[in-house]
């Protein structure tokens, strides 16, 4: 029992604070979809099939403005390109799962599930023994990330909790349909969640630089088409971190 349930519960518990930030975002996604003329079934279908908030909001916004279908698809896909970085980063930790689990875990990969899982798996930012990639084996008894069953359970516990809350919040948003007054600014809870994840990650100078450059480029590119400010900021930040890392170690 504990072998499967303990990591599931640990993951779900760890995701609890993030779920709070998910609720207003999901409500907004549901309300916006109905506002744009999607049927309730389509609005919930979008949430289930795509399961990525920012791109869902882009889809309904562009559909509402009758943008060409190719632009709608392209924009939403570009917004989600950052997930390829998550996929590459987390791939070693999924490598020894069975394929059906890898597919399920990939479908559930989001900003939040990635951030939470990678923090747990790498424990302090450095890769600890998962067999394939590590050069030193971690023998810290408190970290069980070397155990694939634990890793899978922890990830699914967190990611499935996020999926359920996201779908429930979307459904409520669709059903209620009534817009929360703009002046409450509840959408601001979303960047606050990202901020709460970002700050503890700033553990060394290259990471701080990566964040400063990434944030600056994203602000400068806020008006760029196709959400290229976000993608460009992320890439510029990674480059800045690598360059700074090279300087420090040179």
């Amino acid at each position: 029992m504990s072998r499967l349930h303990a990591p599931l519960l640990a993951g779900a518990r760890a995701s609890l604070p993030l779920l709070l930030g998910l609720v207003p975002f999901g409500l907004v996604a549901g309300v916006a979809a109905v506002d744009a003329g999607l049927s309730p079934f389509q609005a919930v279908g979008l949430s289930v099939v795509v399961f990525a908030g920012a791109s869902q909001l882009a889809v309904v916004d562009l559909l509402g403005r009758d943008a060409s279908l190719a632009v709608v698809v392209l924009t939403a896909t570009i917004i989600n390109l950052r997930m390829s970085m998550y996929s590459a980063s987390i791939a070693p930790h999924f490598a020894d799962f069975r394929r059906r689990w890898r597919i399920l875990c990939a479908y559930l990969l989001t900003d939040m599930s990635y951030a939470l899982a990678i923090a747990e798996f790498t424990d302090g930012g450095e890769r600890s023994g998962d067999g394939d990639t590590s050069d030193t084996d971690s023998d810290d008894p408190t970290v069980d990330s070397a155990d694939p069953t634990h890793r899978r359970g922890y990830y699914l516990g967190a990611a499935v909790a996020m999926w359920l809350v996201w779908q429930a919040a979307t459904v409520v948003g669709v059903v209620v349909g009534a817009r929360i007054p703009d002046r409450w600014g509840v959408g601001f809870a979303v960047p606050l969640v990202f901020l709460a994840l970002l700050v503890p990650d700033l553990t060394d100078r290259p990471r701080v630089l990566a964040a400063l450059v990434g944030g600056s480029v994203a602000v400068a590119g806020a008006g760029w088409p196709l959400n290229l400010g976000l993608v460009g900021g992320a890439l510029a930040g990674v480059v800045a971190g690598v360059v700074a890392d090279g300087r420090v170690n040179a």
């Binding site: 930030g21 506002d35 896909t77 980063s89 490598a95 809870a189 900021g233 990674v238 890392d245």
Partner: protein
């Protein structure tokens, strides 16, 4: 702002975005079994992905460049964001960060 596209067009968009997004998510998870480990350079770069991406997601939501420096700095969202960042730094607690950040946003909106 209601779409004039019919149900089938909407479903095509939903399925296309969903399929492409899944391909992005699964890409390296799929490839990892076929390539023998991650090249060290990529591995090193990936260390900076969370900081870079999270900052790129946060910054435009908090910083709204105004006509003057003081107008930019006095923005409700930037003030609330800085307060929330301080709370995140000292508590590393998401609940506290959201709670104080939202309170700061409302307070700044009332004061500024």
């Amino acid at each position: 702002m209601t779409t004039t596209y019919g149900p089938s067009s909407v479903w095509v968009v939903v399925l296309a975005v969903g399929f492409l997004t899944f391909c992005i998510r699964y890409s390296f998870v799929y490839l990892f079994g076929r390539i023998d480990g991650m090249p060290p350079r990529i591995e090193a770069a990936l260390r900076y992905v969370p900081a870079a991406v999270l900052a790129a997601l946060v910054a435009p939501a908090v910083v709204d460049p105004g006509p003057t420096v003081s107008a930019t700095l006095a923005d409700d969202r930037l003030v609330a964001g800085l307060v929330a960042a301080a709370v995140a730094w000292y508590t590393e607690d998401v609940f506290a960060t959201i709670g104080v950040g939202m309170a700061a946003l409302w307070l700044a909106g009332a004061v500024l």
